[in-house]
Amino acid sequence: MKLRTLTLGLLSASALAFAAHAESITIATVNNGDMVRMQKLTEDFTKANPDIQLNWVTLEENVLRERVTTDIATKGGQYDVMTIGTYEVPIWAKQSWLLPLDKLGDDYDAKDIIPAIAGGLSVDGKLYAAPFYGESSFVMYRKDLMDKAGLKMPDAPTWDFIKQAADKMTDRANGVNGVCLRGKAGWGENMAFLTAMSNSFGARWFDENWKPQFDQPEWKNTLQFYVDLMKADGPEGASSNGFNENLALFQQGKCGMWIDATVAASFVSDPKNSTVADKVGYALAPDNGLGKRGNWLWAWSLAIPAGTLKADAAEKFVAWATSKHYAELVASKEGWANVPPGTRTSLYANPEYQKAAPFAKMTLDSINAADPTHPTVKPVPYVGVQFVAIPEFQGLGTTVGQLFSAALAGQSSVDDALKQAQDAATAAMTEGGYIK
C-alpha cells in the first residue's frame, strides 16, 4: 500500500513538474529599435502564454543572415523563429525551408497586411513570413534649405529636379551637401539604392533569358547620373557611407536631401537625436517618367524554419508580434509614433497614427508604389525590387557593389565598372546554370 501510494505520488509529482515546465523557443533577430522594443514588451506574450518561454539571440545583420542560413541549410534546429527579409523568403520557401503560416489565428486578419508587403512574403499564394516592420524608400529633405534655394519639392519629384535642387542646396563652405546617398559596397547597401534607382531609369539586371544587362545604355545612364550627382553635391568619402553614416550626417544638418529607407523618418524627426527634427519634409522617390520610381520594398519578417520541433509555440509568438494587438500595445506604452511601420493597412487609416507620424501617408504611398513582382520597365525573369531573388545575388550583388563603389570613389571609370560588372554577372550566371 505504502509503495503504491509512494509510486502514485511520485508519478503525480513528475506529471505536475512536466506540465509546469515551460516550452522555450529561440528567436534570432537583429538589433533594430523596433526589435529591441519588442523584446522589452514580451511580458504581454508570456503572461498570456505562461507555458512558452522566449530566448532571444540578437546578432549583427550579416552574421544573422549567415547563421540562420547555415542553421536552416544543415537543419541545425538552433532557432524556432527567424528574422529574415523579403530577399530570403521566396528563395527559402521554394526550398521548403520555411513553414507556411496558416495557423495565425482567427483574429489575426492577414488580409489587413499591405498587399505589396504580403506579395513579397508569399509563394504560390501562401504566406511564409509575417511582416514585423516594412519599409520602402523616399526622399527626406530640409524644408528650410529648399525654401532658401527658392524651390518647392513636389510630392513626386523627377531625378532632374533632385539634381537641380542638390546643386542649389550645396554649400560646402557651411558643410551642407545637397544630397546624401549610399555609397558603401554591399548588396544591401549601395546596390539596394542603385538597383531601385536603375529601375526608374529603365534598367534591369537581366533580360528574360538571364543575360546580364550592364552593357545597356540604361545602366550607363543610371551610374553616370549617380556618380556625377555625388561628385557635385555629395559628401566627402561618400563611397564609405551606408544608412547609419548618412543618418548621422542628416541629423547633424549636413545633408539637404537624403534618399533612403522610410524607417529613417522616425529617426530624423526625433528631436532627442536630430538637430533638424522640425525641418524635415518627405516626398516619393524620384522617377524619370518611365512608369517606375526609384524606391525599394523591404520587410523584416518573422518566419519559422521547417526543422523546428516547436512550430505551434513559434506560430503563436509570430502571430502575437505581428498582430494589431501588438501595435496597440506599443502605442499604449510608447506612443503611436513608435509602432512598427509598413505592415498593416489599418495602421495608416488610424487618425492617431497619422497625427503622431507626419510621414505616414508618404510611407504608405511609397510602399504601394513598389511592385516586387513587376519591378522594372522592361520584363524580367526575377522577383524583387532592389535585389534579384536568386541565391547567387548576395555574392554577385556585393561584387557589383564594390565595382560601383570604386567608380564613386574615382578609382575606376563608370565604363570600366560597368564592363567589369557585366563580366562578373555573366560568369556568375553561367556558373549557376542560368545561361546555357
Binding site: V30, L59, T70, T74, L247, Q251
Partner: protein, 274 residues
C-alpha cells in the same frame, strides 16, 4: 659627451615608445570615452570630453544581462587554456627532448593550420557539432577554442622547453624518476614562467575569439563576443551603447593584462636574446 648622447637617445626612444603606445591604445580609449556619452553626443563628431552619463551602461545591462555572457567567457577561456596545456605540455616535451627527423615538419604543419581561413571549415565543423549535440554547449566550444589555439601553445612551450638543458632531465632519470615524475616535478617547475605566459596569452586569445564563439552558440554558451555583436545595428545609431558593451567586454581582460604584463613580457621575450 657619450653620456649625453645616450641620454638623448633614451629620451627619444621613450617619447617614441609613448607615442606608439598611445596610437595603439587610442581606439580603446576613445571607445571608453564614447561609452560615457549620450547617443546624440556620440554622433556629433570627435570629442574627448564626455558628459559622463552612465545611461548607456544601464541600457546595455537592461537589454542583455552582462553577467551570463561574462561567466561564459571566463569559463571558456580558462577551460580551453587548461585543456590546451594538458595536451600541449607532453607534446612539446616529446618534441623538445625526443625529437625525430619529422619533428620540424610536424611543428610546421601544426602552425600551417592557423593559416587556413576559419570560414573554410565552417560547414564541416557545424555538422560535427550538430551531430554530436555540441551546438551551443560550453564543453563543445571549450574543445573548439582549445584546438584552434593548440598550435600556438605547443610552439611556445616547445621554444621554452628547448631552453632547458636536457642534462637536468637525464639526471632526474638516473635518479629513477618516471616519465610522469620527470614532466611534473622537474620540467614543469623549471618552465613555470614560460607556461604562465603561454597560459595568459591563450586566455587572451580565447577571450577575444569571435568567429567560432558567435557561430556555434545561441543562448546557453554565448560569451562576451556575442554580447558585443548583439549591439551592432544596421538601422539606427547606437554608438554609445555599442561602446559601453565593448568596454564591459574588454575590461576584464584589460585588467588581467595590466596586472600580468611583467609575466607576459618576460614569457614572450624568453630566449629572444640568445
Amino acid at each position: 659627451m657619450a653620456r649625453s648622447v645616450t641620454t638623448r637617445h633614451k629620451t627619444i626612444a621613450t617619447v617614441a615608445a609613448w607615442i606608439v603606445a598611445l596610437l595603439i591604445f587610442f581606439p580603446i580609449l576613445y571607445t571608453i570615452i564614447t561609452s560615457f556619452k549620450s547617443e546624440q553626443e556620440a554622433i556629433q563628431g570627435f570629442s574627448i570630453i564626455p558628459s559622463g552619463t552612465f545611461e548607456s551602461y544601464s541600457e546595455v545591462q537592461a537589454q542583455s544581462g552582462y553577467f551570463k555572457f561574462f561567466f561564459n567567457s571566463v569559463l571558456l577561456s580558462v577551460g580551453s587554456t587548461i585543456l590546451a596545456l594538458l595536451v600541449a605540455i607532453p607534446a612539446a616535451w616529446s618534441m623538445a627532448f625526443s625529437p625525430t627527423k619529422r619533428t620540424k615538419d610536424i611543428l610546421m604543419w601544426m602552425l600551417s593550420t592557423k593559416m587556413m581561413p576559419a570560414v573554410a571549415v565552417l560547414f564541416p565543423i557545424y555538422l560535427i557539432f550538430r551531430d554530436t549535440g555540441l551546438l551551443d554547449s560550453r564543453i563543445g566550444l571549450m574543445i573548439m577554442l582549445m584546438l584552434i589555439n593548440l598550435p600556438i601553445v605547443v610552439w611556445m612551450l616547445y621554444t621554452y622547453f628547448r631552453e632547458i638543458p636536457g642534462e637536468i632531465l637525464e639526471a632526474a632519470r638516473m635518479d629513477g624518476a618516471s616519465l610522469w615524475n620527470e614532466i611534473v616535478y622537474v620540467l614543469t617547475p623549471m618552465a613555470v614562467p614560460g607556461i604562465a605566459s603561454t597560459m595568459l596569452l591563450n586566455i587572451i586569445l580565447a577571450w577575444n575569439e569571435a568567429f567560432w564563439t558567435i557561430r556555434l552558440t545561441t543562448t546557453e554558451a554565448a560569451p562576451l563576443t556575442a554580447f558585443i555583436s548583439s549591439f551592432s545595428s544596421p538601422q539606427g545609431l547606437f554608438w554609445a551603447k555599442l561602446s559601453a558593451a565593448s568596454t564591459l567586454a574588454i575590461a576584464p581582460i584589460l585588467i588581467m593584462g595590466w596586472f600580468s604584463q611583467k609575466q607576459l613580457v618576460r614569457g614572450l621575450t624568453f630566449g629572444a636574446v640568445k
